[in-house]
């Protein structure tokens, strides 16, 4: 849905969302967090990696998922199929795979008593098996997790409410044709003392650009015809959502930025909006917005893809505790054709890192004082519609009896 010129209550009402204040208890309560574990995360899909990470039979990776109290073991067997299991030995519960990732494995042997499993999760060896009273190996295979691949991203779920293809079908139509198999040029992580929703909300609106990023990217994403960095469009697909961020065509570039655009592929956006539109590949700018910079596609519950011309970033917000989130961001860019491209990309990497330090700053401060105003509210404006939608989706799931 394209932004209206009358910027009052537009997206919110058109998406059928309320404009009431939002109770803040869900953003710090331990009780609520427990229910999110059961009702949201156990019933949803979370991303554990890219398909290229385990491209060959025998490749595997291990991913800790704190909110599920689980470690996932993801394998690719000789049939090339990707499978996922709880990384738990069926004997006495030790981790089966102890290293984070690897290649050329045909089996995983628990280092406690030596029970072995193959890439299909089948129990293939039990030392001194005869003392186990005719054990039925089929009954003691690794416990599977539901597993699927969407646009090259591997997702797992303990008990999905819907099949993966269905969950992300509509969002998928937006990004169809986009080449996600790009090289990772930067990968960062932080442990942040903030609720995962406080965290996600900081990355699903652009209203904060004018204040928080006043010295850095405000002139890039706000301008005379859009002084408050209004979204250019927004979309909701059931639990998922997508917003498009404005780019200021009149933004005056700094010397390093001028060089970056002169030398290389456009890696954030070029203020030459005609060129920007020409460069924009399939899967970007779904509503053909004028003065468009990039899209943020939020995949419920804890991942988003920020997608622009020649680059995308994957962010994941892993809940650890009501007030602790493990954050990961990976930046992918088209492989540089030459040194000019590489120098240009370095501009964007450095800028992004510095700007993220500004973004991360508010989260701990917000969280630190939330409990003190336990009966307070959040007020979400129309351009924070994605934050509101997330609250409504989560509370609906948490409050469902089942």
């Amino acid at each position: 849905m394209k932004a209206s010129k009358d910027h009052g209550n537009f997206f919110t009402s058109n998406f059928g969302l309320s404009n009431d204040p939002i109770p803040i208890e869900p953003y710090f309560s331990s009780e609520w967090f427990k229910r999110e574990r059961e009702k949201v995360f156990k019933r949803s899909w979370v991303c554990v990696g890219r398909e290229e990470n385990i491209g060959e039979p025998g490749d595997y990776l291990v991913r800790d998922i704190p909110i599920l109290n689980a470690s996932a073991l993801v394998t690719r067997a000789a049939d090339r199929k990707v499978r996922a299991f709880y990384n738990v030995c069926q004997h006495r519960g030790n981790l089966v795979a102890q290293t984070a990732c690897g290649h050329k494995r045909s089996r995983f042997t628990c280092n406690f008593h030596g029970w072995s499993y193959d890439l299909h999760g089948r129990l293939v060896q039990v030392p001194d098996e005869k003392v186990f009273y005719n054990i039925d190996r089929d009954q003691h295979a690794l416990k599977p997790l539901h597993c699927g691949v969407w646009n090259g991203f591997i997702f797992v779920s303990p008990d999905p409410a819907r099949p993966l293809e269905e969950e992300f079908a509509d969002l998928g139509k937006l990004v169809d044709g986009y080449d996600f198999a790009l090289p990772v040029v930067g990968s960062y992580t932080a442990e942040v003392k903030g609720n995962w929703k406080v965290f996600l909300d900081a990355f699903q609106e652009a209203y904060h650009v004018i204040a928080l990023h006043a010295t850095t990217v405000r002139p890039t994403f706000a301008g005379s015809d859009n002084p408050f960095a209004h979204l250019t469009s927004a979309r909701i697909f059931d639990r998922n959502r997508s917003i498009s961020v404005y780019g200021n065509p009149d933004h005056r570039m700094r010397p390093s930025e001028t060089l970056a655009f002169k030398l290389g592929v456009a890696s954030t956006y070029t203020p030459d909006m005609e060129k920007n539109a020409a460069l924009s590949a399939a899967g970007l700018n779904p509503e053909g917005d004028k003065n468009w910079a990039f899209d943020i596609n939020i995949m419920f519950p804890n991942m988003e893809l920020l997608m622009g011309v020649g680059w995308y970033a994957q962010m994941q917000f892993w809940p650890v505790a009501p007030d602790h989130t493990h954050y990961e961001v990976r930046i992918y860019m088209k492989a540089p054709r030459d040194a000019g491209d590489a120098i240009s990309q370095e501009f964007n990497k450095v800028m992004l890192y510095d700007v993220l330090l500004e973004d991360l700053y508010t989260i701990e401060n917000t969280q630190a004082v939330l409990k003190a105003r336990a009966d307070g509210n959040f007020i979400f404006g129309d351009h924070e519609v994605a934050c509101r939608h997330n609250y409504e989706v989560v509370s609906q799931m948490v409050e469902t009896r089942s």
Binding site: S256, Q316, R337, L356, L357, E358, L360, Y361
Partner: protein, 121 residues
């Protein structure tokens, strides 16, 4: 014996070759954060007008086929991008204003998402 540290055409940048060439973003960032603005400004102003020549000189060759002195030249150009915000925006090595601490925002293993705390990344 003197090993050629940068290509001959970039003799003017030699004075910076010993201190401003690092192979990783993390090391470049640490150099930026541990330098004063006089040193950063001196490096910035000398290399700014040379960046386009660097790109031209290295040309369209695959980046994994650069000679060692060319590789150092490219890393020096990356260092320019690292210090540019300090000079052009902040007037200090760090982001201005209150920010999340640099020391808690780590380079990560792209597959596992785990922090890499050693010095080489």
């Amino acid at each position: 014996m003197t090993e050629k540290t940068l290509p001959a055409e970039f003799k003017d940048l030699e004075p910076f070759a010993a201190d401003w060439v690092f192979p990783t973003q993390k090391r470049r960032r640490m150099k930026r954060l541990s330098s004063n603005m006089d040193a950063i400004g001196a490096f910035y102003s000398v290399i700014l007008p040379r960046i386009e020549a660097v790109a031209r000189h290295l040309g369209p060759r695959p980046l994994d086929q650069l000679a060692p002195e060319e590789q150092r030249l490219l890393w020096m150009a990356y260092m320019f991008m690292e210090v540019a915000p300090a000079v052009e925006i902040f007037g200090q090595p760090e982001v201005r204003g209150n920010t999340f601490p640099y020391a808690r925002f780590f380079e990560a293993n792209p597959i596992t998402g785990g922090a890499i705390v050693d010095d080489d990344n």
